[in-house]
């Protein structure tokens, strides 16, 4: 079975142009079919603040009202996505920026407004695997941002960690998948102040245990729960940590069923 590598990058990389360059150098060196999935970093929130639009989160999830959706679409699908695509083109990667609406790659539905109204938040309904496979088979490198759509003309905002997992799951029917979540730490650590506490492996049972005992911080939960969902779909190797460590085989965390 052919391989496909998915790399998810977030704010720590996107917000720092030196780190972004290093990351894109590493990404470019990955052989074979590959997809980059990115979030928005702080730039979305920064722009909202500049425009005087209140930034609201509940349990780490952004509340996306109409104005917020407009701004995050501008930042994620516009400046962040195109900056990355242009820099990959400069590295001779045939990159193509995609929001969920482009080629109808990712269709979502507005999250129900009860019990909690998250506004224009999109829960993924379908990833159009055939379109991604077509692009990959023509040496195109999709660069996916977290703006999705409902198929009726409405854009929606979806969590980028979730997009990475759903794209991995959908493509795992065709490819053997490597899904790597880039992280500012070397991986999952028992004690963030102790570099020796890195977990080389984390099983689903350990994850549940560490989550209950509060060892795993709240911010890690979306990444890990999405990562384990991808692992349990099968055919998918999921890792967390530095992209360079993933490529070189240096210490990082591998999620195990």
């Amino acid at each position: 079975m052919k391989q496909c590598t998915l790399v998810k990058i977030g704010g720590q990389v996107i917000d720092n142009s030196d780190k972004l360059k290093t990351c894109l150098d590493a990404f470019s060196s990955i052989p074979g079919k590959k997809i980059l999935i990115h979030g928005g970093g702080k730039s979305g929130s920064d722009m909202l603040k500049k425009l005087g639009i209140e930034v609201k989160y509940i349990d780490g999830r952004r509340i996306t009202n109409k104005k917020t959706l407009e701004v995050v679409t501008q930042v994620y699908a516009g400046s962040v996505n195109k900056k990355i695509v242009a820099q990959l083109q400069a590295r001779n990667i045939s990159a193509l920026g995609l929001s969920g609406c482009d080629l109808n790659i990712i269709q979502a539905e507005k999250r129900p407004s009860l019990p909690m109204d998250y506004g224009y938040a999109g829960d993924i309904k379908k990833v159009h695997t055939d379109k991604l496979e077509w692009l990959l088979s023509h040496q195109v490198c999709p660069v996916i941002n977290p703006i999705t759509h409902n198929g009726e003309g409405q854009l929606l905002n979806t969590n980028a960690d979730t997009i990475a997992a759903e794209v991995a799951i959908s493509l795992s029917s065709i490819f053997s998948i490597n899904l790597h979540y880039c992280f500012e730490m070397p991986g999952v650590m028992m004690d963030i102040n102790n570099p020796h506490s890195l977990l080389n492996q984390l099983t689903q049972n350990q994850y549940t245990e560490y989550q209950e005992s509060g060892i795993i911080a709240a911010g890690m939960i979306p990444k890990l729960s999405n990562g384990f969902r991808a692992v349990s779909a099968g055919n998918t190797h999921v890792t967390i940590g530095s992209l360079n460590h993933f490529i070189s085989g240096d210490p990082h965390t591998i999620l195990r069923p």
Copy 2:
């Protein structure tokens, strides 16, 4: 020779959601291969004003400093492009939003800073016809925005009328092209207050004459000079006016060599 229809829409359509819907309905009804090219409308300038960034023009051309480039990339490649793509998907068009960097469709170079420094303005160097042909042959409808790149990681801002003409010229080697510039008037008029003064045809010689005598307003010049450039490349039928009139054959202006 197969046909391909290119439609350029600008601010009058983009800034008004009802007009945009009517226009996308009309665009969707065009049979065969088609491409939509859009500018940014007033939303780019509005956003710059909200952020307190000065909007500068010289001879109708925007001066694009670094901050301006960031904002126009957000608006043109982000909110405007994705809004159009999502609305075309809702009309069962397999739309794909493209900046020049995506698949390296349009490579440009920064305009020389002498005699006048336009900042990050991009003059088109090459349209990658093969990539556009590939997409069109797979029933994909490219939706192109005016953000280009220099191939070295730098995004640039290019005039959308120019992009429409250059894409038409490049594709005219493969297709018989219809290029339609959408316009708030029925077409080119000798007197904008007199609906009967619409010119059904305009030749290059008449254009030069009317331009010298001041009959043709300054704002029309980029559209017309780009239109005539496309006409003179051959194999290209160029029209200006209402999109519905173009489709139904009702009065509009045809540019003649």
